[in-house]
Symmetry: C2
């Protein structure tokens, strides 16, 4: 009856299989981000070559534009986006909280103004469930407060308690269908709060557990310390999702601590700015090395080699040179962003494939 099986385990590293309404996903995996229903510069055909198993999309953005009526009419987000594989949606909480001056939080949820037209909206736990159920995502997230870093103990405690309360309300609002619902462990950098958060959420019972409030400005060591605290507390037969993380080495470190799922804007955002991940090497013991190439650099002006000779992505194997891609950036041609987005996402997805081969 469980949607998740660990197939193989090396120390804390787990290789598993997650069953969703739109198919099975091999874990650990990385989710490219389709904020507004599209991964910037990419086409669905590109995903066939990239081989990603799932994408992440943002409830907050889709709720405001195109709006739920449009997605409902299309028959859900999969049909609207023309994407047949699994989708994870966040709850919208993260985006709403980052509005700062445009939102007001109370224990019922969060009121906010649309950045498009100033209209007033309210996200309650029940509401974000209704939205995600209309979107029809395979994996839904509970409404949480992503606790800012650093936070006082008092703030973090109240925030963790609120997240747990909302998580319970989300669970209660969930229809019986094939959609999975994940709880989110908060508690900032306080071990006690993290343990309490995990324990309370497990008691409510979710299909998976996310670890939130990390990669928000804290040192990497602190992130790893929190994972060392939280992961052993989480059920072995449920997937674990480290939200918004991160750099390749952070992903590897988290996998070593038993995390199964990742998402991050870094590969796509860096691609658009011309920062490229190259020379991926991952040993059987998960020792990772790689390089960052800044394609706008003068030294690549006449460099006829591909972005990365060791890379098998569609950009690197199709005859596009560093010289040409540098030129495309220098004249602001959209093809630059497209070729580099393909490359960087391939790097991340290939990293996950290599992890899954150990």
């Amino acid at each position: 009856m469980s949607n998740f099986q660990v197939i193989k385990q090396h120390r804390q590293v787990r290789l598993g299989l997650l069953q969703t309404a739109h198919g099975k996903i091999q874990t650990p995996f990385f989710m490219p981000i389709a904020t507004r229903g599209a991964v910037k510069y990419l086409h669905n055909d590109d995903f066939k070559l990239l081989g990603n198993q799932i994408i992440l999309s943002n409830t907050y953005h889709l709720y405001l534009k195109p709006g739920l009526d449009v997605i409902k009419k299309a028959g859900g987000l999969h049909k609207f986006m023309n994407w047949q594989k699994p989708i994870l949606t966040d709850s919208g909480g993260y985006q709403v909280f980052s509005l700062k001056h445009l939102r007001k939080i109370n224990d019922q949820g969060v009121a906010f103004k649309s950045t498009y037209d100033g209209s007033n909206h309210f996200f309650s736990p029940k509401k974000v469930m209704e939205i995600q159920q209309i979107l029809g995502s395979d994996i839904m997230m509970v409404l949480d407060e992503c606790t800012p870093y650093p936070s006082t103990y008092e703030y973090a405690k109240a925030s963790q308690e609120l997240t747990t309360k909302w998580a319970k309300q989300c669970k209660q609002a969930k229809k019986k269908n094939k959609q999975l619902l994940f709880g989110i462990v908060q508690g900032s950098s306080y071990k006690e709060l993290r343990l309490k958060s995990a324990k309370d959420l497990i008691k409510i019972g979710f299909d998976g557990y996310a670890i939130g409030g990390l990669a928000v400005g804290e040192p990497a060591k602190e992130m790893y310390k929190t994972l060392d605290v939280v992961c052993p507390e989480l059920p072995e037969d449920k997937p674990r999702y480290l939200m918004g993380v991160g750099q390749p080495e952070q992903i590897v470190e988290a996998v070593k601590r038993g995390v199964d799922m990742f998402d991050c804007v870094l590969p796509t955002r860096n691609a658009r700015h011309g920062y490229l991940y190259t020379n991926l090497k991952l040993s059987k013991s998960l020792k990772l090395t790689y390089k960052i190439l800044r394609i706008r650099g003068e030294k690549y002006k006449k460099d006829l080699s591909p972005l990365d000779k060791t890379c098998q992505c569609a950009t690197c194997t199709s005859g596009y040179s560093r010289s040409y891609i540098r030129h495309l950036f220098s004249v602001n041609e959209p093809l630059a962003m497209r070729l580099t987005t393909i490359h960087n996402l391939y790097f991340y997805l290939d990293l996950m494939r290599q992890i899954r081969k150990i």
Copy 2:
């Protein structure tokens, strides 16, 4: 020995075959524009699906960025762009003349300042030949002055004479290689000057003849009148190229008058602004009908049909709906421009395919 054969002729309509250094091209044909070495938002793989036989690129832009040293190092424009099929390059004249306050013309050529860094440059007939020979385009264009509309007879006459003089110098500067060189008929709206221009160019002898200075603000009827004057004067065994034209109906009217080659920014530029060509119908007698769809329109908000049910392009046959594409435009997602560019170019290329089937 001729590079061009008319295979079939219906009245003035010619179906032919143009041999270039990078393969044969069926005429009449349309050239998508890769101004800076890329068709905006498209990938070379897209061209396989679109089936375009040739692209056009701009000498002026490539000369300034990335610069000739870069393209020389790559082994020419084909290798630099990673495009193995034919390329036509303009002479750069059109772009330079449109700089207005940044250029000075004399009978030796035209001096201009770079819009990138203000540096000084000079395009002479010999220089634009040197550049295009480094680019290695399959079809090169002579340096010409695109006579503005309207022009006085005196201005148009001087301009036509200058273009003819430069054309001769270009021919003299041409190396013996497989690159083709086209002359450009000018003469504004003056029949006498157009005839003189054609006659003088034919005397010099070119691999093909372009008709320039049209689609520069004159009424369509005047364009057709000029074609009626010029086309009968041009050699039957050489291809004829109507530069910068145009709307689908203008292309059809020009084909009816014996034109073989076209280029225009309209399909790609209109795509980026959400104006889409749909419902192409072309009768055996070349009667054309089609519609323009403004995808940003409110009425498409929940329209789940493809952009054009009658269209076989990759966008219309892959499950992307009007509703989704409208959403992508409303949130400024690059995928919007990509999907619509594919659609509009397919329309133009399909129009040419249908013309070639009559």
